[in-house]
């Protein structure tokens, strides 16, 4: 029985560990923190593995969201805003990194709840109902948070050249993923 749990856990970590880390990265914008968040979630899930093995990913995702929320609440006090970013202009060779930097900054600029909703909705591809269930909020709140996040991204001029269209609102209303 114990060995079954261990094998099931190891298989899950091997199969989904990287996806969990990616999800963590989109919450934290830091690969080391993302790994820490992933391992924290797995460590909390492991003692309950025999009970959650039917759908461990949902369980782990929820732990990650809750853990990150508590970290965020604890750590934001130490935040020191800076007007100027330390990076200088990069050459074309680094266009990809530059693009990621712009996207990362835009995402980091969103309030925590909006970022969570956006990542769960569009990266984890959860439905509005699933996001609401995971975050313990209403579907209406998910919709409004998602709409606000998209509007904020749309209003970000730096993103326009990377394909975030300002007129995307009408398209998005028609999309209803």
């Amino acid at each position: 029985m114990v060995d079954d749990v261990r094998v099931g856990f190891d298989e899950f970590v091997a199969a989904r560990g990287q996806a969990m880390q990616r999800f963590g990265y989109l919450l934290t914008a830091d690969w080391a923190l993302a790994e820490d968040l992933t391992q924290t979630a797995l460590a909390r899930a492991f003692p309950r593995w025999s009970r959650i093995h039917a759908d461990p990913e949902t369980y782990c995702r929820k732990i990650m969201v809750n853990t990150w929320s508590s970290w965020w609440r604890r750590r934001w006090r130490g935040e020191i805003p800076t007007a100027a970013l330390p990076d200088g202009p990069a050459s074309d060779l680094y266009a990809e990194a530059d693009r990621r930097h712009v996207v990362r900054a835009a995402l980091a600029d969103l309030p925590e709840r909006q970022r969570l909703v956006l990542v769960l909705r569009y990266h984890e591809d959860l439905s509005e109902g699933q996001v609401a269930n995971l975050l313990g909020i209403s579907v209406g709140t998910v919709k409004s948070q998602s709409a606000k996040a998209l509007a904020k991204l749309r209003s970000n001029g730096a993103l326009t050249e990377y394909g975030m269209s300002r007129d995307g609102a009408a398209q998005d209303r028609g999309e209803r993923v």
Partner: protein, 393 residues
């Protein structure tokens, strides 16, 4: 480029393309972490058991020597703090309580002018729990900081902090109503009170006012008196006696129209309160005003265009300049006296109307003089009147 949703998906995928390779021993590392945590928890449980045994022995010895027993098992407080129990009952998560302390730091920074001066070296908790059937969260704590030893008491609506919201936003907004005074001395009859209110009401009524009163743990009961709202078929006052839980009382004082007073603090059959005191934080007069829930929302009819809105208790000024003149004012208020609306500018005002605070929506139409480029609207009301006002043309 597809829809906005696809744009976002592409952006998020782009962010993770430089994902590092998975650590080779991630699963084993997690299992080791779980084992470490189990060992630590076992060690902590053993330490607590040893500690409780020591405290038990201490209680027995102090009783035999005739000394007073500790007020809260296992609780040691510094000399400057009140030797009162910790009433946190687990109804409020630690993160919410931390949010209250953080909100206090930011609030104090505004008065001390220094973030460092508000860095808490130690926080002693007395109250951190829900009240009014879980509708509000009340906190009382003392803090040692470079700015001195402070007593902080306050409350907030539970729905504003219990769903993961921060205690303080970078915009400077906090859901907490906090009162901050120098840490009081532990004198007989010391009472720390909070006025608050529920958020739901019985049909046809406003939410009740509530009090949270904290006294020394040997106070077994308190009696309180609250003037009622002077309306037909309403009682003139609420008078009650409540049994405390080790000095803490939370009580529903109903629909009130005046300051709530504590008459007696009973220790056995003896009243240790020299004279009646108003419920509030000692040294913070603003805390003694009952906190009243807002009246029911207004029905905004009769306005041409958008209406300005304000709400609250006591006097307030709404500056509508530059803007259109004010011709229509809609008011709903309740309290023991009428409310007056004046219109004009900061130098000269004209009475637009006097409104009876009977919890009914009233519409005033004002045709008097007003400045060309918009007016200032003054609400003149006592602190015991709660109102909503909308104004426009």
């Amino acid at each position: 480029m597809g829809t906005t949703g696809n744009d976002v998906r592409r952006m998020l995928d782009l962010l993770t393309v430089d994902q590092p390779a998975a650590p080779p021993d991630r699963a084993a590392s997690v299992r080791r972490r779980v084992q470490r945590r189990r060992r630590n928890m076992a060690a902590a449980a053993l330490a607590v058991a040893v500690g409780l045994t020591a405290v038990g022995v201490g209680v027995a010895r102090s009783g035999a020597l005739g000394g007073s027993p500790p007020t809260s098992p296992g609780r040691a407080v510094p000399r400057w703090a009140l030797p009162w129990p910790d009433h946190r009952n687990g109804s409020v998560p630690r993160t919410v309580l931390d949010g209250a302390v953080l909100a206090w730091r930011h609030q104090s920074e505004l008065t001390t002018g220094s973030w460092a001066m508000t860095a808490p070296r130690r926080v002693i908790w007395y109250v951190g729990q829900t009240a009014a059937h879980g509708q509000v969260v009340a906190v009382i704590f003392e803090v040692a900081a470079p700015a001195g030893h402070r007593l902080v008491a306050g409350w907030t609506t539970a729905s504003e902090v219990m769903n993961g919201q921060p205690g303080w936003r970078k915009s400077g907004i906090s859901p907490w109503v906090l009162y901050d005074v120098p840490a009081p001395r532990n004198v007989p009859g010391l009472l720390i009170g909070l006025n608050t209110h529920g958020t739901t009401a019985r049909p046809g009524q406003n939410p009740d006012a509530w009090i949270v009163a904290l006294a020394a743990p040997d106070v077994g009961s308190m009696s309180f008196r609250a003037p009622g709202v002077p309306l037909p078929n309403k009682v003139a006052a609420v008078i009650g006696i409540g049994t405390t839980s080790r000095g803490l009382l939370t009580g529903d004082v109903g629909q009130i129209g005046g300051l709530v007073e504590i008459d007696t603090l009973s220790v056995g059959h003896r009243n240790v309160l020299p004279s009646p005191v108003t419920v509030g934080v000692p040294g913070a007069p603003a805390s003694m005003t009952p906190q009243l829930a807002l009246p029911a929302p207004l029905r905004l009819v009769g306005f041409r265009g958008e209406a300005g809105e304000l709400d609250g208790q006591g006097n307030v000024v709404a500056d509508n300049r530059p803007g259109r003149p004010i011709r229509v004012i809609v008011v709903r208020c309740y309290g023991p006296a009428p409310l007056r609306i004046l219109i004009g500018n900061l130098a000269r005002t004209h009475l637009a109307g006097i409104v009876t605070c009977d919890n009914v929506q009233h519409v005033l139409r004002y045709y008097g003089p007003q400045p060309r480029h918009g007016s200032v609207l003054f609400v003149r009301a006592s602190d015991l009147i709660s109102y909503r006002v909308a104004y426009g043309i």
